[in-house]
Symmetry: C2
Subunit: 568 residues, 2 copies
């Protein structure tokens, strides 16, 4: 079929594939809700109005009809599953399009990782667009699996599914006119440039925006968001698993400014996606918080389509793709039917379309360490150590100074004070680099937890009470080519294989979620009070977020932006 | 200077070129008005906020500051002057950017004509973007100077100043899947596709929109505009010299839908531009009609920038071009200062910047007729003739049947009944084609008027009481290589040379306006009661607008869409 067939159906000169009759259309373009039929042919909406005949007709009996939702910024890797499984999780929630930054896999596998995500996108049920990762690696104080300069990103420029340059996290670099950052911005100047500038304000923020950045998803307060919106940044309000900004930012939203606001999830774990949803969840929260439903739906669909210049998405009108939600109720925004390209893919919160056959894309192994040569011992140089202090529900940390527990000349974990040994093992290049330090707050009384999910370099992080448990966990991960593990002495208690770049499982998301629940239960058995110690651990190596972090090259004082010694 | 310098100024690490202090910013992004300083460096706005130092500083003392205006759809040729002179007319009114369809010159000179407009744009003070003309010629019932198929337009696709495909006037062709139209749409599918579909509705309109069309500027009533807006067309409300749609469409505009509405002028003659203005006039009328000023300004700036994906235009924020208006009053929207790229170009309604040197672009002569072989005699075939009946202030006509006045076997003008001879002389290819007919309403008691402005083919139109006067006027136009002329017997009473494609004068717009006023005065002397008989004549050959029109191939019954005989 072609445009010629679609126009014939639009003219009512030929029957259409499908007619959704008697729905109440949420028209995000005109800002109205009214009754009309929706005429679908050859994957597209071809007409709105009465007097059409269809091969199939569905009577919606006054139910609401809204456009498929768009997640403006999401790292699919955080779902711990591959894109086709991520699609199975979000489609029943009405998310039909995502704009993803394949930043995690790009840090591990570079362009090959981005190509994997693009290939996965091409054959899936979810409309997946990619932003080219802009900060690989994040800094020079780590060893990542790849390094991408402007010239490396150039081949992506004209890729039909690449919309622009992903979050420019090196925000001081951008504002200070770092040559490499400006090269990337110049390359993508006619595409979309996404931002990431937590707490930036004033003159430095002006410079960041003046460089061409167009969006920001790191706002946590209304004054911060308003300053950024006024400067022209589209505000992506984010509601991730850990970073929950929606309720604090609801007072930002007005009828006058909401066209400059979109919704995104950034990072959501499997249980969160399955149990609570995605953009649909945000729309429910927004409406419950007093936002007009049409405005809330716009922020979850149309506004993102406009921001990313996706002209066939985000609204229900002739010529757009037939990505359609049917909803019994608008306040409690839960899609009863989800159509993608005119095909019913989910109903009553469950997939009804089979997962399409994916093209097999064999990635190389990404865990490259010598597990039997690991040495986690720390020779004591003084009685006083820097300790990374975790803070509940935050990814920032405290920079603590604590007395060292010294045994036989070695600094060791101190379970009485909940100060545990923390190692970051370089896993991409077998360099032998191991960053060593201590961390407070994980609460393990025995054993060790480890994982190859460690933003953004994704080296192998391990936290433990004793070196033997740590080595056991690391060896288990090495043996399975990446993933999460928990060990006690020589015994591996649980494991979650993440064979795709050490970041993603190949299992269905429900199975991955079950394994993840088991991992958390095992950590609780060993004494950790955290609701999710693996996710907390995964941010303890991210040296672009304050205050004290650990990479494979050592402890980073983020405020000084330099490596510092463990001992004072 | 470069981005590096701009970022230094944005960070306040170096003084900026210019600071506009103490203005009240109309922030079209956030929908607010508040006090702030505006920091300009190297043609761009680099910062909003306090604490900056400038090489030059201007104290605005609380005056309003708004973005430079954007005309979403204008045929510059209708101003009868070249783009640099058009720029001189609109810049003092605050219009800093126009999106133009060089449709008139393209019908005369094809790609060469479009290149002329693009070249003119490149070196001017006005930001001029071009839409590639989509309907050259309009139909096969005329002889135009050029024919442009999709393959001819392909070289324009990646031109940095070409934004998309201009008004798709062959709207039945688009809806009926005409292959040539679909080829052009497919070529420009990732660019912007402008529409033109007067009175289209229902299934045919759905098909037109489903083809990918994105805008419409032909709406005259609220129900028509609302139907089109709901289907996803951006509504360009038009206020031309003859087509005045703004006041009738003001009730369309709501806070909920105004993001899908832009302002445009389409066609304005010199006197209108000079005396009344352009988009600024529309903003004044809208505000006087009760529209919120920020919404009105958005429709005249930001909304058009978003529609055309012009991300550095239409708003005042870091990274945008410094196209800035200073206004003492918001209700009576009259720019006191107009900055384009940070340069003060107009003040108090007059240009202060000199017209830049234009690149000389020699177009070939476009009037190619044998003036001494013209024969306007009409052998009478019956006593009853079809007559084109003009209607005041409209471009549609009546299809009249009148008794013929016959002298010596020839049908001639009948001044008692105000039925005058009308000839359309093919002027592009010396084909010898002359369409002959009669027209009612011009009121000449003596002489003839003639001109090479005759939409859209722009052949040479001439209306007269006697053949000698008609030949004198045609010969005068031929001698000056295109333009308007008025003659009485052997005497040329007035002339307005339009050497650029027979459409545009090379004089300053004030001089062209003076000549045009003289032309109208001369027509009044000869008895015409019309306020502008030349403009009315220019639409009497446009065979895509009902009901009866005359091309060089003969009379066209537009409702039947076919050529018809003069005699019944």
């Amino acid at each position: 079929m072609s445009i010629v067939d679609r126009l014939a159906a639009a003219r009512a000169d030929a029957p259409a594939d499908l007619i959704l009759r008697n729905g109440r259309l949420v028209n995000v373009i005109s800002g109205e809700i009214y009754r009309t039929d929706i005429v679908v042919h050859d994957r597209h909406i071809v007409a709105l109005g009465e007097g059409y005949q269809g091969e199939r007709e569905v009577d919606l009996a006054g139910k609401y009809v809204a456009p498929g939702l768009i997640d403006a910024h999401v790292h699919i890797e955080s779902s711990l599953v591959t894109p086709p499984e991520f699609a199975r999780a979000v489609l029943p929630h009405g998310v039909t399009t995502v704009v993803t930054d394949p930043h995690e896999i790009a840090n591990v596998l570079g362009l090959e990782g981005m190509r994997y995500m693009l290939e996965s996108a091409k054959h899936g049920l979810l409309n997946m667009f990619v932003m080219a990762s802009s900060c690989v690696p994040a800094t020079t104080m780590e060893t990542s699996g790849a390094r991408l300069e402007a010239e490396d990103l150039a081949p992506l420029l004209d890729h039909p599914w690449v919309l622009g340059l992903a979050e420019l996290m090196n925000y001081p670099g951008v504002a200070l006119a770092d040559e490499g950052m400006l090269d990337k911005i110049a390359l993508f100047e006619n595409k979309v440039l996404d931002g990431h500038a937590p707490d930036m304000s004033g003159a430095m923020l002006n410079a960041y925006v003046a460089a061409g950045v167009e969006s920001e998803h790191e706002c946590t307060t209304v004054p911060e968001a308003l300053e950024k919106l006024r400067l022209g940044l589209t505000i992506f309000i984010r509601e991730g698993t850990t970073t929950r900004n929606l309720e604090p930012l609801l007072p930002l939203i007005t009828a006058e400014n909401h066209s400059a606001i979109c919704f995104c999830t950034d990072d959501r774990i499997p249980a969160d996606l399955i149990d609570h949803g995605s953009i649909d969840y945000m729309i429910r929260v927004a409406i419950a918080g007093g936002i007009d439903p049409v405005m809330a739906i716009r922020m979850g669909s149309y506004n993102s389509a406009r921001h990313f210049r996706l002209k066939k998405y985000g609204a229900l009108a002739p010529g757009k793709y037939a990505d359609i939600l049917v909803l019994p109720d608008l306040e409690d925004f839960r899609p009863e039917q989800v159509y993608r390209g005119g095909q019913l893919v989910a109903r009553d919160g469950a997939m009804v379309a089979a997962r399409p056959e994916s093209r097999r894309f064999d990635l190389r192994s990404t865990v490259n360490i010598a597990a039997d040569e690991l040495d986690f011992s720390i020779a004591a140089k003084s009685g006083s150590i820097r300790v990374i202090g975790t803070i509940k529900d935050q990814v920032v940390t405290e920079h603590l100074v604590e007395p060292a527990k010294i045994v036989a000349g070695l600094a060791v974990s101190n379970i009485e004070r909940d100060i545990l040994k923390f190692a970051m093992v370089e896993r991409h290049r077998a360099s032998g680099h191991i960053g060593l330090g201590f961390v407070k707050g994980f609460g393990l009384r025995r054993g060790a937890i480890a994982g190859t999910v460690a933003h953004d370099h994704h080296n192998l992080a391990v936290i433990g009470v004793d070196d033997e448990s740590m080595k056991t966990a690391v060896a288990a991960i090495s043996a399975m080519g990446g993933g999460l593990a928990i060990a006690d002495g020589e015994v591996v208690l649980a494991r979650l294989p993440l064979p795709v770049a050490g970041l993603m499982s190949e299992l269905p998301i429900e199975a991955a979620r079950g394994q993840y629940d088991d991992m958390i239960a095992a950590a609780r058995e060993l004494g950790s009070p955290m609701s999710d110690p693996y996710m907390v651990m995964s941010f303890m190596g991210l040296e672009v977020i304050p205050k004290l972090k650990l990479t494979d090259l050592g402890l980073v004082d983020v405020e000084q932006f330099q490596l510092v010694d463990l001992f004072l």
